[in-house]
């Protein structure tokens, strides 16, 4: 049944290290639909981050396929709509996928505004004025407009992560990937970042979120994926996963974290 469009289709995704001795991902298949807020949970070392990082090819998969907007991005070359064989433009692809990291990864030698305008100007060719105007609008949305000319080191962890989120949004991506966005934050700052993500979800942004925040998964997520040992063990709505876990692995995991 292919009535609903898939934004990302993951088929039997595999990532092996040391020639198969370590299986970070061992055959993961799932679909991500437009507007989904897909939360990935699981014990550490279960392959959640590897799965997320594979989606924009920060990790090159060993096997399987990732079909993003109709193109298998794990292939270096593909046929375009005219039937001609073209090389996959990885930079073009990554523009459409915003990514937010655990450790923020803001550029320390640039001001907040420069952090946000660099990619729109250099990659999309926007004018400085237009890029700055857009950046200030986005900063205003997360309440950081007055810090536009500060350097990242002058910001708190929560502020840095909010900047990192709007920096990715400045490229107008079709999907946002979050790799444990609150794990490196002091507890009192977790809320402000989750609030921004919640607002983003309400606006209809497609999101894939790896997190340990079960409250967020339950409240904001519309689908939850539970991973362990590089495999997708269970997936379903938050109610399915948290209230009626089927597998023993998930029951065991939930008993530890809830």
């Amino acid at each position: 049944m292919e009535t609903r469009d898939n934004l990302i289709e993951v088929k039997d995704l595999k990532k092996y290290y040391h020639g198969g001795a370590i299986k970070a991902l061992d055959g993961v298949s799932t679909d991500i639909h437009p507007g989904d807020v897909c939360v990935v949970i699981g014990p550490s070392g279960s392959g959640k981050s590897t799965f997320l990082r594979s989606l924009n090819l920060l990790e090159e998969p060993t096997g399987g396929a990732i079909i993003f907007e109709g193109t298998d991005i794990t292939k270096k070359k593909y046929k375009d709509e005219n039937g001609e064989i073209v090389r996959l433009d990885i930079d073009k692809l990554r523009q459409k996928m915003g990514m937010v990291f655990q450790h923020f990864n803001l550029f320390p030698h640039m001001t907040i505004l420069e952090n946000m305008t660099l990619a729109p100007m250099k990659v999309k060719g926007m004018s400085k004025e237009a890029a700055e105007q857009k950046a200030l609008e986005l900063l205003d949305r997360v309440g950081l407009k007055d810090r536009a000319n500060a350097y990242p080191i002058q910001l708190s962890g929560g502020q840095k992560q909010r900047v990192a989120i709007v920096r990715a949004l400045a490229m107008e991506p079709n999907v946002m990937l979050f790799d444990e966005p609150t794990s490196a934050l002091d507890p009192e700052m977790v809320g402000e970042v989750l609030d921004v993500m919640k607002k983003l979800a309400e606006e209809g942004m497609t999101m894939v979120v790896v997190t340990h925040e079960m409250g967020f998964a339950r409240e904001v997520g519309n689908r939850v994926l539970f991973m362990a040992d590089g495999m997708l063990i269970e997936e379903g709505t938050p109610e399915d996963i948290f209230d009626h876990p089927k597998s023993a692995r998930l029951q065991d995991f939930l008993s530890k974290v809830l």
Partner: protein, 261 residues
Amino acid sequence: MDQFIKWSNFSKIAEYAQLFEQGLLVTVLLSLFTVVIGFCLALILALMRMSNIRPFRALGIDKDGHQREKGFLAVISKFNPLSFIATAYVEILRSTPVIVQIFIIYFGVFGVVKLPAYNMFGFIKFSRFFPGVVALGMNSGAYLCEIIRAGIQSIDGGQTEAARSLGLSQGQNLRYIILPQALKNILPAIANEFVVIIKESAITYTIGVQDIMSAVNAVKGATFVIIEPLLVATAIYFCLCFPTSKLIAYFERRMSHGDKR
């Protein structure tokens, strides 16, 4: 009674002041060209050393499609010719004396390749100056390469990941994200290398470049005064090197605005 310094000797060598002036100009030009050549060469070498071009990569995959762990084919598949050439270059240049390199360049390479008998500014012999610049540039390129490589590798991998995930290409990432941060980190080491180049350029007098040291020798030969011209040379070298390191320290402070609260 012999004295270490005789003031009268300074007035004796004063008439050769023009030699020192010319020597100063040659040393400055020599150092500037060396720095430029050395830096460009070093950047290319550093990128070669960090490149990931493996032409025999396919040989490392067995018929099941898995990576080979051991054996000759696994070693061959990891072979990166660019990195090998750059590493060999750096190790050879760092493990041999500069004077040997200068002689090989001057008598060997430029013994075969004839340079025009052209005089820069009317007195600098191009056929001696140029081999000197090439030899010093090649030598400092090897040292600067290691400094630049260390600088680039000191930048957290998350910076590249963030840049690439925003859609920046590999080249844009290097230019806007990695190099500005790396250069700031390695500025003290680069300053050190620049000062070393100024001082090391003195060795080119052995192939007849008319730098400050050659002025010392000329004065020594003409007047039999030894210590005083050396002291003049000492003063000139100090006046070149000390401001250079101060100038770079100034740039270092200017670039550090991202690390203060």
